[in-house]
């Protein structure tokens, strides 16, 4: 979505919806002789947003400033019983929430 536009400067905003599918997590339990079981996570929704300012310094050089934000959730995984030579251990990944905010600056050269 264009918020502002001039001959040399553009400001843009995007809003997104995220849906995870076929989500898996691998847990490294090799220290306990339980291998690396793969668990299926419950899929869930998330959201993302982006704000970008792009400015041309001249015909070939330019700068960009950006801010990205993402949020998503995973439900708890299926429960699996993992067995080594000594014991049987139930393994389950709990539900989780993740937020990532990314910001930065870009220099670009236009050929």
């Amino acid at each position: 979505m264009g918020l502002f536009s001039s001959q040399r400067t553009v400001i843009r905003a995007d809003i997104g919806l995220t849906r995870s599918i076929f989500s898996k997590v691998q847990i490294d339990l090799r220290d306990h002789n339980l291998g690396k079981p793969v668990l299926l996570l419950k899929d869930n929704f998330g959201a993302s947003g982006k704000l970008v300012l792009r400015h041309m310094l001249n015909k070939t050089h330019g700068l960009t400033l950006f801010l990205n934000a993402s949020y998503w959730e995973f439900g708890k995984s299926d429960k699996r019983s993992i067995q080594n030579n000594i014991e049987t251990v139930p393994v389950q990944e709990p539900m989780s929430q993740t937020t990532i905010v990314e910001f930065g600056a870009t220099y670009f050269y236009k050929f």
């Binding site: 979505m1 264009g2 536009s5 995007d14 809003i15 997104g16 919806l17 995220t18 849906r19 995870s20 599918i21 076929f22 989500s23 898996k24 993302s48 960009t64 708890k76 990944e93 709990p94 539900m95 989780s96 929430q97 993740t98 937020t99 990532i100 905010v101 990314e102 910001f103 930065g104 600056a105 870009t106 220099y107 670009f108 050269y109 236009k110 050929f111």
Partner: protein
């Protein structure tokens, strides 16, 4: 791997007035192979008709917060940290297509606040993320497919180390 579907609506001056994005993330091997093949095919098409090319260098800063919860909503642990990164990319734009190939490198530490498997209640996790991605957009359609893909099976470039120290 992610798939993004972007919906754009244009006003009478051909300026986008609404954009809706649906992003899907999945890890099934079949879809990775299929889209890796598709993206390589499309990228060669994009380069053939490219009208404008940009070389891009970016410095980035990631703020990450990750928490796990039990079934009652109580927080089990929390990882919160800042990770600096660097991106090198090449963007190729034509009248109809825009393709961006990039290499991202992130490295940093994330404090872990919670019960670890060895019984500690706090520790630090080091994260290194090296990523190759390719995104292709077709800009003249109302419904715009927008693919963002990691290609670990084809290139082996995606390396994710998540190691407690």
């Amino acid at each position: 791997m992610q798939i993004q579907v972007i919906y754009r609506r244009y006003n009478c001056y051909n300026q986008p007035i609404t954009i809706k994005t649906l992003k899907l993330m999945y890890t099934h091997p079949f879809f990775r192979r299929f889209f890796s093949f598709l993206l390589f095919y499309l990228s060669s098409y994009s380069i053939c008709i490219a009208a404008s090319t940009e070389a891009i260098i970016s410095t980035k800063y990631l703020l990450i917060e990750h928490a796990n919860y039990n079934i009652y909503g109580d927080r089990l642990n929390k990882e919160q940290g800042r990770i600096p990164g660097l991106q090198l990319a090449v963007s190729s734009t034509s009248k109809r297509l825009e393709g961006i190939a990039s290499v991202d490198i992130y490295s940093g530490n994330v404090p872990y606040d919670g019960k670890a498997t060895n019984g500690d209640f706090s520790s630090t996790t080091s994260i290194k993320l090296n990523r190759f991605s390719y995104r292709l957009m077709k800009s003249d359609l109302i419904v715009t497919p927008n693919f963002t893909a990691l290609l670990p099976l084809v290139t082996g470039i995606e390396i994710f180390n998540h190691k407690a120290i």
